[in-house]
Amino acid sequence: MKKTVKKTGRSRVASAVFIKDLRIEARSRVVTNQVLPFAGLIMVMFAFALDNDDVLQRVAGGLIWLATIFSLFIIVQRSFAIDTSDSALDSLRVAGIDLSAVFLGKSIALSLQLIALDVVLIAAAFLLYQVQVSVIGLVLLVTCVICATTGLGFVGTLYGGLTAGTNGRETLLPLLLLPVVAPVLIAATRATEAAFGSGGAAISEGWAWVGLLAIFAAVFGVGGSLAFGPLIDE
């Protein structure tokens, strides 16, 4: 049998992985049924703990992104549990599949799940914390969510892949991820506060932060594509 399988394009592999991850989520609903309520609860608990509308409006941006990052840890572990439970990740490696394409597919699927999560969290902020947003503010907010979740998807997949299947991954993942996502937490929080006008922040201030989020996403998109293969290979 001399006809060897031809190398498949990177985008084809990435889209196959992307569709696979989202289809599994659509069917198992782990994120929908477990992570969304968890993140929503964080928002409600803060409302109880702070119990002051002015304070809540002021800190709404920070709470949204803290809840996002805590949820990120759970979603990342779920994302790799899919691939390691029956050693499918091993099979991908044995088959010599382009791992940077796997990285891109998984990252984008992860980002989309985070976007869905953030839509719910922002809606909760409107309902529970009475924040307000103008039309321009909304444009800023949407751009901020897209840039921030893209960056989080990249770093989450990168470090999730490294810790997948290792002992003590539940604690190692946050240890590795927290310092890396600190810029996202700071930048996304400031941009969101600018969009909400919390504490008299001007919307124009927000765009500089969105720029930082975009740089972060670009750096880890490129860095992750290069590093993912060497990191997860034996």
Binding site: M1, T4, V5, R27, D90, V94, E234
Partner: protein, 215 residues
């Protein structure tokens, strides 16, 4: 007449978790053979098969698979071998067909290839729409084998392929392996069921304490 050597191991040592699971294995396999690895549990069969697939580093000795030197480049060999280990590498929440289509997209196989492979393993019809999580162990095994067929591997490495299959499934497996051989593939498999496996194999090797000897 020269026979094409698919695999050539010489004094290979493979260290796994600081333990020399394979301690000086020397053997070779020619194209078109179906080679059986016999041996007790812990003899090193699984490690040997994983190393053949380019998954484990070779600590000492020289190893050549499908013309690739495993010491220099373990990655090059991977797209040309198919390894079926103890795990099946399937996605539990997807149906059989979805698993197969996922693999076919990765390796650029056509829908026709998928249908043929599923027919060969008796997975068409109602089973194809069933989630893998709801399949029996034997059905999962067949699904994993079907994905190997789709991948068109030149060298098949199978670890206990008969385990968990019923009589019919075993016959199908044997037929599939012979068909793969007739299509030009080479097969190396480990099994404890000596009688059935010896009938299938063209040659047997004994793996004992990390070394390989002819049976």
């Amino acid at each position: 007449m020269t026979v094409e050597k698919v695999l050539e191991f010489s004094d290979v040592v493979i260290v796994y978790d600081n333990f020399p699971a394979v301690a000086g294995a020397t053997f070779s396999v020619n194209a078109g053979e179906i080679v059986l690895l016999q041996g007790a549990n812990g003899a090193g069969k699984t490690t040997l098969l994983r190393a053949c697939a380019g998954l484990l580093p070779i600590a000492r000795g020289s190893a050549n698979v499908l013309g690739c030197d495993l010491r220099l480049d373990r990655l090059a060999v991977r797209s040309r071998v198919g390894l079926l280990g103890h795990a099946n590498g399937l996605f539990q929440d997807l149906t059989v067909l979805e698993n197969m289509l996922f693999w076919s997209r990765l390796v650029g196989a056509t829908r026709n290839d998928v249908d043929q492979a599923m027919d060969a393993m008796g997975l068409s019809g109602r089973l194809s729409e069933t989630q893998v999580a709801k399949l029996s162990a034997g059905q999962r095994r067949r699904c994993a084998l079907a994905s190997l067929i789709v991948r068109r591997a030149q060298l098949w490495l199978l670890d206990e392929p008969h385990a968990g299959l019923d009589a019919q499934g075993r016959d199908e497996l044997d037929r599939t392996l012979r068909a793969a051989r007739d299509a030009g593939a080479t097969v190396i498999f480990a099994s404890h069921e000596i009688e059935r496996a010896s009938a299938l194999a063209t040659r047997s090797l004994v793996v004992a304490s990390g070394t390989v000897k002819p049976a």
